[in-house]
Symmetry: C2
Subunit: 228 residues, 2 copies
DNA sequence: GCGTGGGTTCGTTGCGCAGCGAACTATTTA
DNA sequence: TAAATAGTTCGCTGCGCAACGAACCCACGC
């Protein structure tokens, strides 16, 4: 009577294609309007309204009414983690090529508040190989507070430590099937990359584009995009 | 077309009360027969068979045919993690008392291959306060390889390091809403506790009982059960 | 050989719920 | 004030699918 029912209820919320599409769209981190969610899910506004109500009641997303718009966003990073984890548990059969066919999403996308896709794992690789982040024997990650790169990006590790959120978290990427960097540092990096115009969000979807100056900076500072 | 549909499909599998009950039962780590799963879910064997087929096709559980029995178990630790994460995202409303009403499950239960519930968080607390595990500033956990307790329990940290699995992982407990210890060390501890007859699994469900000698040992060595 | 008990397959029933259009409210623009 | 746009509520339709009983298949015991 206790947990199985709750698990089923939560999973049921994400078990509908329309609702899953909405939540996936919100993984981009931006707040979207009800109408945009309807478009993304490919359903009428009436149907979308019903789905949104369920998601809100289930505490998967939050509402912020503003004028005649209602802005929806994911309720918490935990929801984003759950969705990401759901994405990694798919299609081990009948799909020899791991990952989605959409190559733009594969190269760089947003995972709620940090970078994912090839860019995400490439950045983590670069951080490690350039000594900005070190790896313990058991796989946990440690940020180097003295790193020149973090100083350049105006990321202060010691102030990040004040938050309850872990600095470095591994997050298994559903497209590349390797880890990228999540946690407080992951979020800070995305913000810094945007501030320096290295990457830019696209309109609605989770897609992220690397700007030309960003491509240069990433190659010089992290060795991203060297091979191939 | 790519990920939202897969997410929905995976979530849909766990979105049915009967299937959720089955998977929850399998979180105990033991392999169960199809009939047992039917009983646990409270449905007929015919219906259970259909559900099992779907779970197997969806790679959530694995089959091992043995004689006239079919033993089912969770397909991977990733599935267990997913289920546990689903359990933490529930009922923040209308339920002032966090956690399930089933107090036996609250005290000690199995989370796939490690301990959870009050015992789980208590053990982690004890390990930390007695210096067997230390906590970094960013919250990550580090096992002390020289710990006398691990030697007594015949747990060799350095051999655990050879596996790809992280030694120490935090796992948010859905009943107590605090972290307990997962990862390779969490699994090793459960095994050791069973070998020393400190805890014992019950028949089918995830429930775990602490034996009288176990209660004494846990108090002496980890200070578990002191307060109250 | 025959019974027994575990599991699956088949056909059927019935409820849940996603989907839509139309009508209605509320906010912004003209 | 009227027109337009965002969103919700209300009936209604129809499909999907969970559930069951009955029949059947297989493995074991005698």
């Amino acid at each position: 009577m206790t947990s199985p029912n709750h698990i089923a209820r939560t999973a049921h919320l994400l078990g509908d294609p329309a609702r899953a599409a909405m939540v996936t769209a919100l993984m981009g981190g931006k707040a979207l309007t009800a109408g945009e969610l309807a478009t993304v899910a490919g359903i009428s506004r009436a149907t979308a309204s019903a789905h949104i109500k369920k998601l809100v009641d289930g505490h998967m997303i939050d509402v912020a009414a503003q004028g005649r718009h209602r802005y929806l966003r994911l309720a918490s990073p935990q929801v984003a983690e759950l969705v990401e984890k759901l994405g990694t548990l798919c299609e081990p059969v009948g799909a020899p090529k791991t990952g989605p066919r959409n190559s733009a999403l594969m190269e760089a996308r947003i995972c709620y508040d940090h970078m994912a896709g090839e860019l995400g794992v490439g950045v983590l690789d670069g951080l490690v190989s350039h000594g900005h982040v070190s790896v313990r024997e058991d796989g946990t990650l440690i940020a180097n507070a003295d790193s020149e790169l973090f100083r350049f990006l105006e990321i202060d590790i010691s102030s990040l430590m004040k938050s309850k959120r872990p600095i470095c978290r591994r997050c298994l990427d559903w497209s590349v099937r390797r880890d990228h960097l999540a946690g407080a540092l992951g979020a800070a990096l995305l913000g810094a990359f945007e501030r320096h115009n290295w990457v830019r969000r696209t309109d609605i979807h989770r897609q992220l584009v690397i700007t030309p100056p960003g491509r240069i900076a990433l190659r010089e500072r992290l060795g991203y995009g060297q091979d191939t």
